[in-house]
């Protein structure tokens, strides 16, 4: 039986370092090639030696990257330039544009701040070389990787340019979702896929056990809080990561400022954002309806109220709102601003995302009233209000179920989520959708058996013979399942269905004929010829088509009817003989002769 083998090298029952190997129809495909942000040793990259030692090119047929987040594309330069892979790599246009910015930034942080040795880490030249190997694809564009692999991207909505990929090899197909979002937000639309019925759907399950409140409620909440704070003269600090959610929050605040005609300044600390923002302005087709509709008048990413931040503004009196990176308050500008503003209770801190244990953000979120810092050793009183706001763009449990319903796969596999959460969702999928569901751990191989479809060539004449009569009448049953008589011949790897005669001729086999013969005794005095005539007229009346020549037997198709006996005898023997194929007709005639006198 044909099968699909899936081995997660990362993101199996885990979040981060997404990297999934799929063997399908004899082809090996790598879905995403991410790094783990939590580790600084070799665990941060997928274990490529699992595939092969040395060059990967001959073992992998293609690599597909779903979106530009580093846990989905971070290991790519390492893989292509340091491990060695020169095969095709696919990603969408926005991903190809933005990914190198992020890779470069990450490299800088790793090498310059954390002091990684430059030998063990890729260089910016390598990032460039790597991106040269990438082929960009568009939404809904079917790309032929080689003669057998075919890939197609669907909108995923998670970040700009995020895509789900449908991979088809021969009859088998897999859909890989990457990260996706089923509820539209301020700048991206909802994920969309058609009813492509793949054999396997590999879906993320970050929020496997969560059903979220409506996004309007969340938005209203944050806006109200910000407004109240600036109205009483406070300063609002929103630590964000530079790409993705930052743009979402900017648009949210921008449009609120626009609507309420607020004059309080909003600042955005520049960094790599400026470059990335340019791409946001360009890839309008990848955004949602509102932005697409209005960009001719005004591009939503050209912010009117949001201005670049300068460090000196920190000391300015009066209310303001500042977006600053990084998002977890662990270093950099956002931390500096936090130190400055935290003691004033008029001010407010809004954390729009998740914070890792150990960061200042995490401490503050958990209600710490004093935060200690080293070099210089200081203690900061936290009197400012602290708010948490979830703006993450992943599908919740309902969304995942909805996508499965849209896509109609035969099997589901969960990746990119916590193991115990997956258990719940897995059981739900099995119960409510009655689909097989898998959640392999890293390095564990899952084998999915697919139903083979075997294509056979049928000669036109045979098809016509069996289907034509019905088609002429004009019946809806044309395309219903239908029985067909023929001989299946498997020769080499070609499968054909032939007419039995043709098959015999081709194989040089003489056909055996099976005939049934039955004798009926008739009580009919008079000459034999009269009996034959009588039978003839009788059958003529019933069937309409008979052939009778003189004294010879009566032919009805392949059925022969002969009468034996002498003219004098009262009892005559009628011999009916028919072939196996005309069994129905033969038995009918036999019965009809038996009951001829009734």
């Amino acid at each position: 039986m044909p099968e699909i083998k899936v081995t997660p090298l990362g993101a199996g029952q885990d979040v981060g370092r997404s990297c999934i190997l799929v063997s399908i129809g004899g082809k090996n495909i790598m879905l995403d090639c991410g790094m783990h942000m939590g580790y600084n040793d070799e665990r941060r990259f997928p274990d490529f030696s699992y595939i092969a030692d040395g060059s990967l090119t001959e073992h992998l047929d293609c690599v597909i990257i779903s979106h530009f987040h580093l846990d989905h594309c971070g290991a790519l330069p390492f893989m292509t330039e340091m491990v060695g892979y020169s095969g095709p790599i696919y990603m969408t246009y926005p991903t190809k544009a933005i990914a190198p910015i992020l890779l470069e930034d990450m490299r800088k942080v790793a090498v310059e701040r954390k002091g990684e040795s430059s030998t063990s880490f890729f260089t910016s030249q390598m990032v460039k070389e790597c991106m040269k190997k990438v082929t960009a694809v568009n939404l809904h564009q079917t790309v032929q990787v080689d003669s057998e692999i075919e890939i197609k991207a669907y909108y995923a909505g998670h970040v700009l340019g995020a895509a789900m990929f449908h991979v088809r090899v021969g009859d088998q197909s897999v859909v890989y979702t990457g990260d996706y979002n089923m509820t539209p937000d301020r700048h991206l639309g909802a994920a969309w896929i058609d009813k492509c019925c793949p054999d396997l759907l590999i879906t993320e399950s970050t929020y496997a056990t969560t059903i979220r409140d409506s996004k309007r409620c969340r938005e209203r909440d944050i806006l109200k809080k910000v407004h109240e704070c600036v109205e009483r003269g406070g300063k609002v600090l929103i630590p964000v990561f530079a790409l993705g959610r930052a743009q979402e929050l900017c648009i949210l605040l921008e449009s609120y400022w626009e609507r309420t005609n607020l004059k309080v300044p909003v600042y955005f600390s520049l960094g790599l954002t400026e470059k990335a923002n340019n791409y946001y302005k360009m890839f309008i087709t990848w955004t949602n309806q509102k932005i697409k509709k209005t960009f001719v008048e005004r591009n939503m990413f050209e912010f009117k109220h949001i201005k670049p931040f300068d460090k000196s503004y920190m000391e300015n009196p009066g209310p303001m709102v500042v977006f600053a990176s990084p998002g977890m308050l662990h270093a950099g500008l956002s931390l500096n601003i936090f130190k400055r503003w935290a003691p004033d209770e008029k001010n407010m801190l809004i954390m729009p995302g998740y914070c890792v244990v150990g960061t200042v953000g995490h401490k503050v979120l958990n209600g710490a009233k004093k935060v200690e810092f080293e070099n210089p050793r200081t203690v900061v009183d936290v009197r400012m209000a602290v708010e948490y706001m979830s703006f993450s763009a992943h599908a919740d449990a309902k969304g995942i179920m909805q996508l499965i319903q849209y896509c109609q796969p035969k099997n589901v596999m969960l990746v990119h989520g916590d193991a115990e959460k997956m258990v719940f969702l897995k059981s739900k999928i099995q119960q409510e959708l009655s689909l097989d569901c898998f959640n392999p751990a890293n390095g564990e191989t899952c084998t999915i058996v697919t139903k083979p479809t075997i294509a056979a060539d049928v000669s036109l004449s045979l098809l016509k013979r069996d289907l034509q009569p019905v088609a002429e009448i004009g019946d809806l049953r044309v395309k219903r399942r239908k029985l067909m008589h023929g001989v299946l011949i498997v020769k080499g790897n070609k499968v054909r269905v032939l007419d039995s005669d043709a098959a015999c001729a081709e194989l040089g086999v003489t056909r055996h004929e099976i005939r049934f013969t039955s004798t009926v005794t008739l009580e009919d005095p008079g000459p034999v010829s009269r009996t034959i005539d009588k039978l003839h007229t009788h059958l003529q009346k019933r069937l309409g088509i008979t052939q009778h020549l003189g004294d010879g037997p009566i032919n009805i198709g392949s059925v022969l009817l002969q009468v034996s006996g002498s003219d004098q005898e009262d009892l005559k023997e009628a011999i009916v003989s028919w072939t196996y194929q005309d069994d129905a007709l033969g038995s009918y005639i036999l019965n009809s002769i038996k009951n001829i006198d009734r």
Binding site: D213, K421, G474
Partner: protein, 948 residues
């Protein structure tokens, strides 16, 4: 190519006729007649020509072109429809090409339906049916069926024809080709006889909804819908088919299925249907509601929009199902979580506000059992929540609309949906936000606002969009408030709103008025604090010009009308302010406060009832008119009448329009008499002094105003106005001819045209002509040559001898008028802008009794007396509650070159009543001002050179 063909056809078949026609035109005296005959000759030959080309065509391309040209002819150009159809069908039977034969069928159908004769219909239908029997090509057969269904529909459901066509279509419903089957289904839908019993045909159509081709399935569902639309009751068994169609792979089928489910549910809402996978039954409408709610999560936008729209009309759905649509169980990490709305609600119920530490406020509560959670949205669950979150604004606004629709019928649902509607104020598309405001004001009367909800709603008062704010004001005026605190909060926020956006003044006043009238008991405890009444100290009197104070006064006054005890709390100042408001803001304050009758009586000297006063005024108007109509009424008497009428117009708003109309008419009378009584007029040779011309100009403006500004005139009053206008034209003509200052040709023609029109109109309407018109018509008839000079000679004595007939006025009139609220008369603080560039001045005004909005213009007059007319956009007019009244909010663009000091730009609203094609008056003269101009000071500043 088609052009070449046309030319050829023309050359061949109409050449000879054209020649004769030309000869005729040269010989015959009446040019018009010849032209007419030629016009009718040519086309028939044109059709003939195309037909012959068609018959001789060698290639299908030629045939198609000829057919196209034939199809382009207007129906009137084809005379012998029967013959043409016969010849076309010959072509049909001869030609093998599918495209040609389809085109022939289309043409036949087009010709026959354009001709619209029964005989043609029947015979064509017969022939086509016969063709259909023999036809083997499925696209031709499909075309044939669609032509037949058109013809059948045209015959108006004639039973015999329909029966024949239905019989022809019935077996083809299960045809292998989708073209045939789909069209057969459509035909059945349009032509099946409407009988009360379900027939086999319905079953067959039901069968066809399961056909293998999606187009056939869709057509079958549509046919069933058509049948329903024609009044056939669709039976219950079809419901299962319709529900099955909802799971179809094709969106058009799903959409049609949705409509069918909806229709079935609307016709038999109470029927019980078995619930899937259980032995219980539910009402059909509830089941259908669940199915349609499911479609809110559909893959296709079209289906989602359709589903969201349909939900609104399912008013019979039971409350349980309805309330589920707003229900979404939340959880986080397998633990139950409450939504933001629920959290707020419990806070209020508990009676305490947040501790100020909100982090963790939404922390998940109890652990959920995995088995109890259902992730599949089944039935109605959360349908509206999803609909309102949809990516596409079409879905969102449809869902919002439906939700409002249902909320207006189910009070409890209205209260639940309030949170969601308020959330929609935050939508990214302004259109949706406006719709949310609209929805809120529609359900305003149904709900009592909780304090937390109020808090959320009032936050929206901050928004910049004036439409949103005004909608909110309307809604707050309508809804009920729960307690005094809410009211206090409301008042505070609204006053803050006033401070921030002073232009909201009027809308806010109305809001306070209605809020006061609705909550007298809640206002009562707040009165001292609102009005700053101190038990011991006398505080300074508040400024009655202050809009915020007026707000409070309106609230208290209107509440006092319903709460007699409140009067005791008010001090004298407040009572005096009440009287002031009654004069300045009539309609906003109650006529009289309880316990103040004596005071009011003392203040206002007319003790009679308002009704009597009205009768008195009307009586007075009529008496003035009688005085004016007295035969001997001299100039002084008329002047006196005018003065009386003008005063009456000022005093009595109800009679104002009539009084002004009468006054204007009398003014015309006076001017007319003045001109014709002038010595130089009587001398009759030269034009006379300029004052005659000035009077004529004034008269022109006055008559135009009579004609266009007043509506509701009776036929005879209308006739009087028009005849007055004709008289004016006559006057102008005479002056023009006498003055010899320019050609009177245009004026003469215009006058003649008007005279003829008016005469015809009056005669048709059975109205008597007045003496002047009578004489005028006779005089003109006697004229040989209708030249301006000759006409003037006839007209002059008529004008002098026959005075303007007195006015009889009975009908209640209305007068078009405008009130400009924004910009206000402002000459102190000029608006600065760079000279030569554009300054936008926001304009906000109300138009009343304007029958044709397209005539409204904004007139901008600059300090150098140049004037510009601005045509406001049609979308800037918003209809008000009263008929023919509009709110116009737009931006007037003003531009000016450098001016040495502050310039005053005058902005006014005018009606442009220019009659097309009339060149007699200047552009300026056609304008009727609807209000006084507002002066706005502007200061164009020179461009600083170094900037550029």
């Amino acid at each position: 190519m088609a052009a070449v063909l046309k030319k050829r056809a023309l050359a061949e078949y109409s050449h000879s006729q054209t020649v004769t026609a030309d000869q005729e035109s040269a010989a015959g005296p009446s040019v018009k007649k010849v032209r007419l005959t030629r016009r009718s000759e040519q086309p028939s030959t044109q059709a003939e020509g195309y037909l012959q080309i068609l018959q001789r065509a060698k290639t299908s391309r030629e045939s198609l072109q000829a057919l196209t040209s034939l199809a382009e002819l207007s129906p009137a150009q084809v005379e012998d429809v029967g013959g043409v159809v016969r010849r076309l069908l010959e072509v049909f039977s001869r030609d093998q090409e599918t495209a040609v034969r389809c085109a022939v069928l289309r043409l036949v159908q087009q010709l026959v339906s354009a001709a619209g004769e029964r005989a043609h219909l029947a015979s064509a239908a017969d022939e086509l049916t016969a063709l259909l029997e023999r036809e083997t090509s499925s696209s031709v057969a499909g075309q044939c069926l669609s032509a037949l269904s058109e013809l059948g529909a045209l015959s108006g459901g004639e039973a015999r024809l329909s029966a024949r066509l239905v019989a022809a279509a019935r077996p083809r419903l299960s045809h292998a080709s989708h073209q045939v089957a789909a069209r057969a289904a459509a035909l059945l839908g349009r032509l099946l006889p409407v009988s009360p019993q379900p027939t086999d045909d319905l079953t067959q159509l039901g069968e066809a909804t399961r056909a293998q081709d999606p187009r056939v399935r869709c057509a079958a569902l549509q046919a069933l819908l058509t049948l329903h639309g024609r009044g056939l009751s669709l039976g219950g068994p079809l419901y299962a088919d319709a529900v099955a169609a909802l799971r179809d792979d094709y969106e058009s089928v799903r959409e049609a299925g949705l409509q069918l489910v909806h229709v079935l549910a609307q016709t038999a809402p109470e029927r019980l249907v078995p619930l899937a996978e259980s032995d219980q039954t539910v009402r059909l409408v509830d089941d259908a509601f669940g199915h349609i709610c499911n479609a809110i999560n559909d893959l296709s936008v079209r289906v989602r929009v359709r589903a969201a729209t349909l939900l609104g009309s399912m008013t019979a759905v039971s409350t349980k199902f309805l309330e589920q649509t707003l229900d979404k169980k939340l959880m986080s990490n397998m633990r139950r979580k409450r939504s933001g709305h629920e959290r707020l609600r419990t806070l209020v119920v508990r009676g305490e506000w947040s501790s100020g530490k909100k982090w963790g406020d939404d922390a998940p509560k109890e652990q959920l059992q995995a088995d109890t959670v259902s992730l599949m949205s089944s039935g109605a669950c959360g349908a509206f929540v999803h609909g309102l979150e949809d990516e596409f604004l079409e879905v969102r606004s449809a869902a919002l609309e439906s939700m409002t629709e249902l909320a207006t019928l189910h009070p409890h649902f209205a209260e639940m949906s309030l949170d969601f509607i308020v959330d929609m104020f935050n939508d990214e598309i302004a259109e949706v936000r406006l719709r949310a405001v609209d929805s809120l004001s529609r359900i305003g009367q149904m709900i009592t606002l909780r304090e937390d909800q109020l808090d959320e709603i009032l936050a929206v008062l901050e928004v910049y969009s004036i439409d949103t704010r005004e909608g909110l004001h309307r809604m707050l005026g309508d809804c009920r408030l729960g307690n005094t605190d809410s009211l206090k909060l409301c008042v505070e926020k609204l006053l803050k709103n006033l401070k921030r956006y002073p232009q909201d003044k009027r809308s806010l006043w109305r809001c306070f008025q209605r809020m006061g009238a609705a909550h007298p008991d809640l206002v009562l405890p707040l009165v001292p604090s609102l009005l700053h009444i101190h038990p011991y100290f006398q505080l300074p009197e508040q400024d009655v010009q202050d809009p915020a104070y007026v707000c409070i006064l309106l609230l208290v006054m209107n509440a006092a009308a319903g709460s007699p005890t409140m009067m005791a709390l008010l001090d004298d100042n407040t009572r005096r302010h009440f009287l002031y408001l009654r004069d300045t803001l009539p309609g906003m304050v109650p006529d009289r406060l309880p316990g103040q009758a004596a005071a009011a009586a003392a203040a206002a000297p007319s003790p009679s009832t308002p009704a009597a006063a009205r009768d008195n005024a009307a009586e007075f108007l009529q008496s003035v008119l009688r005085r004016a109509a007295e035969p001997g009424a001299g100039r002084a008497a008329l002047e006196q009448c005018r003065r009386d009428l003008d005063r009456l117009a000022q005093i009595d708003s109800a009679l104002s329009a009539r009084a002004q109309f009468a006054s204007t008419y009398i003014h015309c009378q006076l001017l007319m008499a003045q001109v014709t009584g002038d010595a130089s007029w009587r001398a009759g040779t030269a034009a006379g002094p300029a004052r005659l011309q000035t009077s004529a100009d004034t008269l022109t403006a006055l008559t135009l105003r009579l004609q266009h500004r007043f509506s509701g005139l009776e036929a005879d009053e209308w006739a009087a106005v028009r005849q007055l206008r004709l008289r004016l034209l006559a006057l102008r003509l005479v002056l023009q001819v006498r003055g010899r200052t320019g050609s009177a040709l245009a004026l003469g023609e215009h006058f003649l045209e008007q005279a003829q029109q008016l005469e015809r109109h009056l005669v048709d309407g059975g109205q008597p002509l007045d003496a002047f018109t009578e004489a005028l018509v006779r005089g003109l008839e006697a004229l040989e040559e209708r030249k301006a000079g000759a006409m003037a000679r006839v007209l002059a004595p008529l004008l002098t001898d026959i005075p303007v007939p007195p006015l009889r006025l009975r009908s209640p009139l209305t007068q078009a008028e405008a009130v400009i609220f924004e910009p206000r008369q402002e000459t102190e603080h000029p608006q600065k802008f760079t000279a030569g560039l554009v300054l936008g001045i926001p304009l906000d005004c109300e138009l009343r009794h304007v029958s044709d909005v397209s005539q409204v213009r904004l007139r901008v007059q600059y300090p150098d007396q140049r004037a510009q007319l601005v045509l406001p956009r049609a979308t800037d007019f918003r209809p008000l509650d009263e008929p023919a009244s509009y709110r116009l909010r737009t931006t007037v663009l003003v531009s000016h070159q450098v001016w040495s000091e502050d310039g005053e730009v005058e902005i006014s609203v005018v009606l442009d009543v220019k009659e097309p094609g009339c060149k007699v008056l200047r552009q300026e003269d056609w304008l009727i001002a609807l209000c006084d101009a507002v002066r706005v000071a502007v200061q164009p500043r020179a461009v600083r050179r170094n900037v550029i």
